[in-house]
Symmetry: C2
Subunit: 360 residues, 2 copies
């Protein structure tokens, strides 16, 4: 029997698209020319809406009713949680981009953790294979991976960053031209997907304890995680929190919090460039105190983070965290580190023990 | 419509079980005391039979009608191809082992490549999730992985080498006691699963060109791959080849060949201890000239191969091979390297190009 109790799926679906500079007038083409009204229309197909907006020279950052969207000149990131349907706006968005001259995609990533309650999702998001089938109607030669344990705590990835270089016979360690066209700039993304968080900290992200987003940002010390970020934050009624941060180097961070004790979930994501993420990871997990988390780091070969993925392989985050899974994938232009961590039992913080892996 | 043309699934299902030394009379307990007649009975449930046998001080090696079985004091390896059902003999085998005192399993691995024609398999082997469901009725807490691309060229693993150390708070880099009980000896396994092989070489493994197993072994130079192995080989009528090799150090190698052009497949497996597998891999692929192959290397922390997995990550096998996928997993007591390679197109050897990844 299905329970009818309140439930919210904090786990996000994450779309990241990189377009090649248009062959004609590359300086004029800019995805940020798409108006808020046009985005409003596109996001109806996703079942979410824009609730706040901030920008700087490099990037436009939207807080959505379910998570966030970041738009820069030729990169589009859409991250949405709950029962939203982000893939449904992919074709219209690509059509729009093509009208601006962005006719070629250089990289595409769709990723998500397994859902806790997949049966509540809408088409085509109930199963990863369903999402893959949908994406295969748009792209040729997408590659699909499941990192972590199949059907339990895992993380799915669909990417066009082809491992197979079909028209190229250089060693794989080099970067295939076709992939890297326009991608010579360093790029890296770190995500920390946290579950079963400290209830005392989660309490901050409710209207019971805080008046607004700014209040929650300061009380939780989210503003100290990456201090140079200009923050746009939002506290939902009666609970829940979203924030985008952007800095002058075009870097972003975004945090989304589902504080309800029964299904607490916090995600942190940033493309901040660092040659060692250990301190950042420690700050994030000390801010939220999860009982378990998934860490993913993508870094391309131009990124200073590229080499440090190796270093992180050997890093356990202090005595209270232990790594339970670790996988590293080499793609032609990116390295990917995937790891899962759990809190040690003898360091219990009042949170119950982690249960079984979730079925998907 | 199903094609009724001749087809043989060369891809093997591989079971490896390590038992703990029995608490009572550990020196007396020995899986090799199981008689050939008893194995004959057990293997009926697998739908294969023993066709040849050889042994030395360390290990008993059986050539089967579909692949091989290796029995040592407390380790049992069963590798079978075609439409055999190796999981069906697992419970009876464990019952038999328990009667000899082997009541505790320290490690269990079930692995296989995706099948080319899964619809031809018998229960519970048609889908990996079916196999997992079956194994979950026997074991608690099995961990399941899919390396490579989901539903395409991939390799499935079910293991009890738990990444989660639930009663242990030492850093993961150390070896959990519970896992390593009786497993302190170095252990490593290398597998090379090759497809679309050179038809001129495959011809050797037919009765047209060779009179018997020995003839094929020498003509193909299989005996030069690991020269210290005592070889037991078999050439099938009208084609197909199996060999086991064992040496005095308790090491084994095993090769199985499905030579038919439409679905040619060769597997190489060995637990030979080396601090660098590069030369061995080169010898194997030069012997068979596949158009593509999967490489997997397991090595526990006592193994001299453990550190060299890292080195292999960076190794492309000469100019004619390119790595298309590479993943590395850290388990508590084992490291696992998974990689796929394809031949470069401009080095074509008369074989047709690789087609799409196979659906599973």
């Amino acid at each position: 029997m299905e329970e009818t109790k309140h439930y919210f799926e904090g786990v996000e679906k994450l779309v990241e698209v990189w377009f090649a500079d248009p062959p004609l007038n590359p300086d004029d083409a800019d995805l940020r020319k798409i108006t808020k009204e046009t985005w409003d229309g596109l996001l109806r197909a996703v079942k979410c809406e824009i609730i706040s907006f901030t920008k700087n020279e490099e990037v436009d950052a939207y807080v959505l009713s379910e998570s966030s969207m970041f738009v820069s000149k030729r990169r589009w990131i859409l991250k949405t949680c709950g029962t939203t349907t982000p893939l449904n706006c992919l074709k219209p968005m690509m059509k729009l981009a093509a009208e601006m001259g962005f006719v070629e995609i250089t990289d595409f990533f769709y990723s998500r953790k397994n859902f806790a309650r997949p049966e509540l999702q809408l088409l085509p998001h109930r199963l990863f294979c369903e999402e893959v089938k949908f994406l295969d109607t748009i792209f040729d030669g997408g590659h699909t991976y499941c990192l972590g344990q199949i059907n339990k705590d895992c993380w799915y990835l669909y990417t066009l960053s082809h491992p197979e270089r079909e028209r190229d016979d250089r060693p794989l360690i080099e970067i295939p031209k076709v992939e890297m066209k326009g991608l010579s700039e360093p790029d890296q993304t770190i995500e920390i997907l946290m579950e079963k968080l400290d209830p005392r900290i989660m309490k901050i992200f409710t209207k019971e304890l805080c008046t607004d987003g700014k209040d929650a940002t300061v009380k939780s010390k989210i503003n100290e995680i990456l201090p140079d970020m200009v923050i746009d934050d939002f506290l939902f009624e009666p609970c829940g929190y979203s924030m985008n941060g952007i800095n002058g180097r075009g870097e972003y961070m975004t945090i989304h919090i589902t504080p309800e004790h029964e299904f607490s979930y916090v995600s942190f994501e940033s493309n901040v460039s660092m040659n060692n993420y250990t301190d950042l990871i420690n700050r994030v997990i000390q801010t939220f105190l999860p009982s378990k988390f998934i860490l993913t780091i993508f870094a391309n070969k131009s990124s200073e983070a590229y080499a440090t993925i190796r270093e992180l392989e050997y890093n356990d985050y202090g005595v209270q965290w232990q790594r339970s899974e670790m996988q590293c994938c080499n793609f032609p232009s990116y390295n990917l580190l995937f790891a899962t961590y759990t809190v040690c039992r003898n360091q219990g913080d009042g949170e119950e023990e982690n249960g079984e892996g979730m079925k998907c």
